[in-house]
Subunit: 514 residues, 2 copies
């Protein structure tokens, strides 16, 4: 007769360690989430204009069905039974699977349905109000909505972590395990170095010649250039697409169906190319979720920060390297012969490393972008610590902007009203942008320590060693390890701002001849 | 104090008569069905090749979620309560709403989950086996699968209508209320007239000159021609799309998001244009489901037959009219000046009304198409009456084909293996094609009796009166009336084959100069 242990492990899938009964429930849940991803993609790329009202209802019904599955008693009891099984079997992989399943389900179960509905409604109204307020550059039109969103977000935080700090509870939704206490020193270090140094560059009076990337670049040719680079990086177009949209994004419907979008400026080559390389980095991560983990609790990205590290790494460390541009040159010359005749990879390169403090985050360069994020992190912390009132936000924003970036908005639309995030109750989301950028620099440093300098390989179009390294050290684990643990495990040291600072300062110094 | 009746009607939506509690459940169900529609569309038009395996899982999970909602106790009890309310309120609209809700839910509830799963699995395996069998033109490779599918379909029929005829139970799934007894005389009449008459045309030895629609027609220009015509018909591209696919189809995600697809032959103008006009007819119906019925039990098409009547009407009665071609001519001449210089609307017209008996349904002309359907209807009835064994199918098919069409397949791929339907357990589906074609002719006849002859209006590009008539008499009711009742109500007489026969015989006689 088989023992009880034998019989239960007989119903476990050996590749992912998950018992069949949890596998089935989780697979169905994951499939519905994949539908939600597809719905988003379709809305931004394909949906006819008139379809939006009915589409909103579809999205809400799907969200309801997902919430129902995630909070069902059946799933919860299955998770608890599997937890017991993991404990008695001492299986490390199963323990990680159960940990993540329990995390997702318990977060969902802690938020009362009435609060979830209030948040959804306030976000919907808030987004509309924000759009109007930004159009009129009038913070007063949005203040009441923001006040309500903030109060609901605090209620959500209290429901999630009754004993903890409110901001940490929200952060945890985007960057599991991250805390304000952990992030503050990282950001402080970054700002302390970056902010004065940006001022030095500005005050040096030096300029970079951007003409090599300015001109007239036909849409279809820009698209071809981007696809050429993305394919070379290893993005598999048999398992993915690239389409136009208003804002570039990446949606991983499944690892075998990953969809990137792009946009372009006809007169500046950088907008389309670097947007596409960025999204391709996200896409390579999505395509890299291993088959044996897909539709299991571990079959997801670690965090927004780690996701962003992949996009930044391919966009910046690879895409802004001189090696990359040497490799790209023949294609560039084929597509834009007039432009190529006047320039060279070496003269394009500085135009990829400009520093120009500005008011608007989404138009910021590689270096000052992080100061925009530091500004938002500071404001959010003050709001959640009750150190800043909503009414005082515009002036607090403008003061911090002046302090960090040396420029001061003269209208709310270019200041506190510029981002959509808060109108959708996304508090604690911003820091992940810079966190990811730090991780990208530290990962690339570790990759080069292991593989040797990659610039020569890039010049030969050989991006495979880097991708294989990322697959092995990051992608294949899904979310088996938390972000901090993963970074430390892969790079041999805790996350710090040093590698990012070194990368930025070296690039800019060279570009500006400082 | 309000009475009980007051309070319950206070929670009813007056536009659709449905109580809020049913409205909410039905709306969520409808939204998930809309997702399934979108998923199908995406799979045929956008999905990357490698995505299919994970996509199949997504589709299965969504089907499971829909089935769960449709068979839930909560929905069933709500329907029963609303039935009671409709009875006591004597509300005719609410009665119809409840009737359709109850119909859908009880059909789903009658099929045991194990049978539904067996059918899904047998269909999946059957489709693959059919593809292989067709490739090798070897019915033996498919016979075992078909036997199993047939046996499961009989079990399904017995579960749906334990006391009735098996074939009727299946028919009812596509054409609610239709029975074999009702359809046989219609088909018998049609075949008795059409079959010998087709032979007469063939034996006359006359030919139609098809050169006006043959040549070289660029894809983009064919697309423009189709869009031009579809827009003029009244299809709203703000609430719809047109994309390429392998087989043309129409998907109504919602009435504000209706997606048509097309394909083309470079050397024959008819394939793309008439495929697109056909799908646009389906699309006009989907866009015509009124807002107040959408997401209610009545907010759907009456039946496959009535749906097909809309596609056939715009494709044939409108699109193959001389008036339509006179209107289309300036656009045709602009796009294909070389072709237009050699011909005229009057010389194109006969090429739209050819009669050529052939072996394959999807390549058949307007007249002989119905004989292909009659053949399938005959075979299906014999199978379900246990008058025909699966092993004898190929020869029975070939005999019937010879009898009805005067041609005999010499390989199974051109005979019994040509259609996908049976491999997906779609028995009782075929008759709706010809049923719809009969309805289209009878509706158009009634429309012209009411509006006057439309050919002149078509020549002026004025398709609005016809669309308004269809909106008023067909579209706006959703499925408030059954197909038979609707046809009789709108045309003043029961459905018959006469108008179709008259239309076909008159067109062909003129085209062939008989």
């Amino acid at each position: 007769m088989p023992t009880a242990t034998d019989s239960s492990s007989a119903t476990r899938n050996p590749a992912c360690a998950v018992p069949d009964r949890l596998l089935e429930l989780w697979g169905e849940l994951r499939d519905l989430k994949s539908l939600a991803e597809l719905l988003d993609w379709d809305q931004e790329t394909m949906m006819p204009r008139g379809g939006s009202e009915n589409r909103a209802k579809m999205a809400a019904s799907l969200a309801g069905a997902i919430h129902q599955k995630l909070t069902s008693e059946r799933l919860w009891e299955t998770i608890l039974a599997c937890e017991e099984e993991a404990r008695s079997a001492g299986d490390e992989l199963l323990t990680a699977q159960v940990r993540e399943a329990k995390r997702d389900a318990s977060r969902a179960r802690r938020i009362p349905e009435s609060l979830a509905k209030e948040l959804a409604e306030a976000s919907s109204l808030g987004t509309t109000a924000w759009q109007e307020a930004r159009k009129g550059s009038d913070f007063g039109m949005f203040a009441g909505h923001l006040q309500r969103l903030l109060s609901l977000a605090k209620q959500k935080a209290a429901a999630l972590h009754p004993a903890g700090k409110a901001y940490d509870a929200l952060l945890d939704g985007f960057e599991p395990g991250a805390t304000e206490e952990q992030l503050v020193p990282l950001f402080d270090h970054l700002v302390a170095e970056l902010s004065p140094w940006v001022q030095q560059v500005v005050e040096s009076g030096r300029r970079v010649d951007e003409s090599p990337v300015l001109g007239k670049f036909a849409k279809a040719k820009q698209r071809e250039l981007s696809r050429h680079a993305i394919s070379a990086f290893g993005f598999d177009f048999d398992r993915g697409r690239l389409d136009l949209s208003v804002h570039p994004f990446c949606v991983g419907v499944t690892p075998t169906d990953v969809r990137l979008t792009w946009r372009y400026l006809e007169n500046d080559l950088r907008s389309a190319l670097y947007g596409a390389l960025h999204e391709a980095g996200h896409g390579l991560y999505e395509q890299g979720i291993p088959e044996e983990l897909w539709r299991t609790p571990l079959g997801d990205a670690v965090s927004l920060g780690v996701h962003e590290s992949q996009s930044r790494l391919w966009e910046n460390q690879v895409g802004r390297s001189i090696g990359f541009w040497r490799w790209l040159w023949p294609k560039f010359a084929e597509l834009f012969p007039g432009q190529a005749a006047k320039t060279s990879p070496e003269s394009v390169w500085p135009a990829l490393h400009t520093v120009r403090p500005s008011l608007v985050r989404v138009e910021a360069d590689e270096a000052t972008y992080n100061l925009h994020i530091a500004l938002r992190f500071r404001i959010e912390r003050a709001l959640f610590a009750n150190d800043l009132a909503v009414a005082d936000l515009p002036s607090a924003w403008n003061d911090a902007c002046e302090e960090l970036l040396g420029v001061r908005p003269d209208r709310d639309a270019d200041g506190v009203l510029q981002d959509i995030h808060w109108s959708q109750a996304l508090f604690g989301y911003f820091p992940t942008y810079t966190l990811g950028t730090m991780v990208s620099a530290q990962l690339f440093q570790a990759a080069q320590e292991s593989l040797g300098p990659q610039d020569g390989a890039f010049a030969d179009g050989d991006f495979a060693p880097l991708l294989a390294w990322l697959r092995k050290h990051v992608h294949r684990h899904g979310r088996r390890y938390g972000a901090s643990q993963l970074v430390e495990q892969v790079t041999g040291r805790p996350l710090a701002a040093d590698d990012l600072l070194e990368y930025l300062q070296a690039s800019v110094a060279r570009a500006y001849g400082l």
